[in-house]
Amino acid sequence: MTVRRLVLVLCCLLATALLPASPQQGERRLVLAAGATTTVPPLTLGELRRAYLGMPVEKDGVRIVPLLNAGDPVLYQVFLQKIMFMSAPAYERRRLSGTLQGGGQRLREYETPGGLAAALLATPGAVTYMWAETVQATPGLREVQTLWRGRVE
């Protein structure tokens, strides 16, 4: 190996070490997803919480329709911990009591990504929480905003 060549390798290694990892390895992103054709604006945490507790939320002329993504237990727990700040039974109790007291409709739950995507596309103002890679892999969906980023081990 020539000196010139050795210098090149060392430079590459240095560049690799110095450059920030983006995104970090094993890190995941929880995003708010909606149909690509909808005009759902980004929501504040408070608005999102109210919407998922069954309260009516309307922003920029769009009435928000929250859909529950129940197909992935880990995703659900991340959603509960980062967005709703409560446990699953407490959230279900709150939803139920909210529905009974407010007289609104129960939030629709979807077990399969296909069903959820179809509902997002078909329902104006419909939003849900998803892993970012799922949104990217599902045609017709778009990320509205990132809700959380971190490791899930």
Binding site: Q81, M86, P89, R151
Partner: protein, 652 residues
């Protein structure tokens, strides 16, 4: 070990619980555990959220105090405030290990629930709050719930086992009682009633069935016992019970000496009545006799039917001075004619009496001696007789005679003599009558009248008749081969026709003899005809099929209905000696002989006159119409060997 009902029940219950308990208690405890975990997670998330909101609102110097207060509360192990680059800007509490956020209870198994939230509010500035909540209190709660649950499960299992064992034993107790009862019944103890109390209808039903079976067995046992000890026809005690009571009387007499008497009663003409009028009449007669006997004795006395027409009495406290009077009373009571099915029947009785202690000290001695006395009374026709040792000696002789006769038949000591019969029309010997003779090696010749009755009573008459018939047929065939076609008459006892196979055995001898039809004639006495039951008499036609007609011997001496002459295959009448021998002196006898001959000829029968002992009588019987003469004047009975030479001499 596990064969018992309780053990099986316990095993079954335990097996069921081994499956159900883990499901039930495990399920409940799982739900409790999940609830505790959810409560913990809920508390952590809401607590952290509030803290994140609070931390976003307050100044940093205030936040440090809040963080330390949180750690002091004990639920939070540590709090870290980090800036947007991840640098810790405030801390409280000790953090062991790296911060790895948990989304489930116990996710990383480090006993700490890590949670990170961004500060919410105006003062957030990209800062994040990291908290570590202690999972130990929740784990302790869960462990306590498990301990309590397992304790409850153990207590449940223990109580179940105790209750099942108690219930099983309670349920199996009546079953054990049933088992004991059934074993008692199997051992023959039927008298213990079966009292089984149980709340179970099946066991009560089983107990009722078993008790019903026990009662039926008791009833059947009593019925069998009664049958075993009583005569079903008269209801009187039978021979077994009579002997038992006799033994009891003997035992009582040993303890407290007291005389008693044993009577054996035999009806005199019962057999004739039974044979001629049928068994139904005979049975009714026996019932009347039983009633009369019972009416003649005291309550303490025993009246028993020993069998057939033989009865017995056991009369306690009866000695020699009163026994004859009681015996006479019995004889008189039975002498009164009985009315049975519209007929008046006279049936006398012979009573033999044996007394205790003078005639015997055992049941068998007393009964045998009363029997001997009864035979003496029957023989003498005196109604009753008290036992006398001399009577026994006669019985012994009779017994000896019987056994010797049996041996004589077996050894061929009996010989057949033949008495010639003269054809009166042709003046030549036409036949012979076979007459059995017993040449005893010690006592010399024994007349038939001495041993034939004994043979009839002991059943030896059948082999005797068969032996005589076989010998006579053999001799007759020899004569025929020698040119003397004689007819052969053989006497037949009514007793020899009784018993299974009698006709078949006689028929086999006749067929084996091969004599031409009509050569052999079987003689039956008129009195013997009365002794033959009707059903047996009807079978006499069997001999007619073999070409062997019947001759009625001693005709006129008995009381036979003339109807027999029509019914039976009779070919010949033999007029009794008493008429023939007195004929010369008594005109009425001559008239009887003439009348019998006329009757016989009218019916197409031949007539034989017996007892022709002189020439005058011979001429008279010829003149009165007899066909054949037999008697000393014609020829004495002689052995077969002599007969041929006698015939030759007579022809010469």
């Amino acid at each position: 070990m596990l064969r018992g009902f309780t053990a099986r029940l316990l095993l079954g219950v335990l097996a069921i619980h081994a499956v159900l308990l883990p499901l039930l208690f495990g399920g409940v405890l799982y739900l409790v555990e999940r609830t505790y975990q959810d409560q913990f997670v809920d508390h952590v998330r809401s607590d952290a959220h509030l803290l994140a909101v609070l931390a976003g609102q307050v100044e940093r110097r205030w936040l440090q105090g809040v963080m330390e207060e949180l750690v002091l509360s004990g639920h939070v192990l540590f709090v870290r405030l980090v800036d947007a680059s991840g640098r810790v800007v405030a801390a409280a509490g000790e953090q062991d290990g790296p911060f790895r956020e948990d989304f489930f209870f116990g996710q990383h198994g480090d006993g700490v629930y890590h949670i990170e939230l961004p500060l919410l509010g105006g003062e957030a500035g990209g800062r994040r709050l990291r908290l570590g909540y202690d999972e130990a209190p929740a784990r302790a709660q869960i462990a306590r719930a498990w301990r309590r649950g397992l304790g409850l499960a153990a207590a449940y299992v223990f109580l179940t086992v105790v209750l099942v064992a108690f219930w099983g034993r309670r349920m199996s107790r009546p079953l054990l009682r049933l088992r004991q009862a059934s074993r008692s019944i199997a051992r023959g103890r039927f008298d213990e009633s079966l009292d089984v109390e149980s709340s179970l209808a099946e066991i009560r039903s089983l107990a009722e069935d078993l008790d019903h079976m026990r009662r039926e067995l008791v009833s059947q046992a009593r019925h069998l016992e009664h049958l075993a000890m009583h005569d079903p026809l008269t209801g009187l005690p039978n021979r077994a019970l009579f002997r038992d009571r006799l033994r009891q009387a003997l035992q009582a007499s040993r303890r407290r000496p007291a005389p008693f008497a044993v009577f054996i009663i035999d009806l005199d003409r019962f057999k004739e009545i039974n044979d001629t009028l049928g068994h139904n009449t005979g049975d009714r007669l026996l019932q009347q006799v039983a009633s009369r006997l019972a009416a003649q004795v005291r309550d303490a006395d025993t009246v028993a039917r020993l069998g057939g027409d033989e009865f017995a009495l056991l009369l306690p406290s009866l000695g020699r001075e009163h026994a004859p009077a009681v015996a006479r009373k019995i004889v008189d009571a039975l002498a009164v004619p009985c009315r049975v099915e519209g007929r008046v029947l006279e049936v006398g009785a012979s009573v033999g009496v044996a007394l205790h202690p003078e005639h015997g000290a055992s049941a068998s001695d007393l009964m045998r001696r009363a029997d001997v006395a009864m035979y003496a009374a029957k023989r003498d026709g005196c109604g009753f007789a008290l036992y006398d040792p001399d009577l026994d000696r006669h019985s012994l002789q009779q017994l000896t005679l019987t056994s010797e006769l049996r041996r004589a038949i077996e050894r061929g000591e009996l010989v057949v003599h033949y008495q010639p019969q003269l054809d009166l029309a042709r003046g030549r010997i036409s036949g012979v009558e076979a007459l059995v003779r017993w040449q005893h090696p010690e006592h010399g010749p024994i007349p038939p009248d001495d041993f034939i009755p004994a043979a009839e009573q002991t059943g030896l008459i059948a082999p005797l008749t068969e032996a005589v018939l076989a010998a006579a047929v053999r001799d007759c065939r020899a004569w025929r081969e020698a040119g003397h076609p004689l007819r052969l008459a053989v006497n037949l006892s009514a007793y020899s026709l009784r018993g299974d196979g009698a006709f078949e055995r006689l028929g086999a001898i006749i067929r084996a003899g091969g004599l031409p039809r009509g050569t052999l004639v079987l003689e039956l006495t008129e009195s013997a005809l009365l002794g033959i039951p009707l059903r047996v008499m009807e079978k006499l036609a069997f001999f007619e099929h073999l070409g062997v007609p019947i001759s009625i011997d001693d005709f006129g001496s008995g009381y036979s209905p003339l109807m027999y002459l029509k019914r039976l295959p009779v070919c010949e009448l033999k007029i009794g000696k008493s008429f023939v021998m007195e004929m010369a002196r008594d005109d009425s006898d001559a008239a009887i002989v003439r009348g019998v001959a006329g009757l016989a000829h009218t019916l197409g029968l031949t007539v034989v006159a017996e007892g022709v002992e002189d020439a005058r009588t011979l001429e008279m019987v010829r003149a009165l119409g007899c066909d054949t003469a037999q008697g000393y004047h014609v020829g004495r009975p002689m052995p077969a060997g002599e007969l041929l030479s006698w015939l030759r001499d007579r022809a010469g």
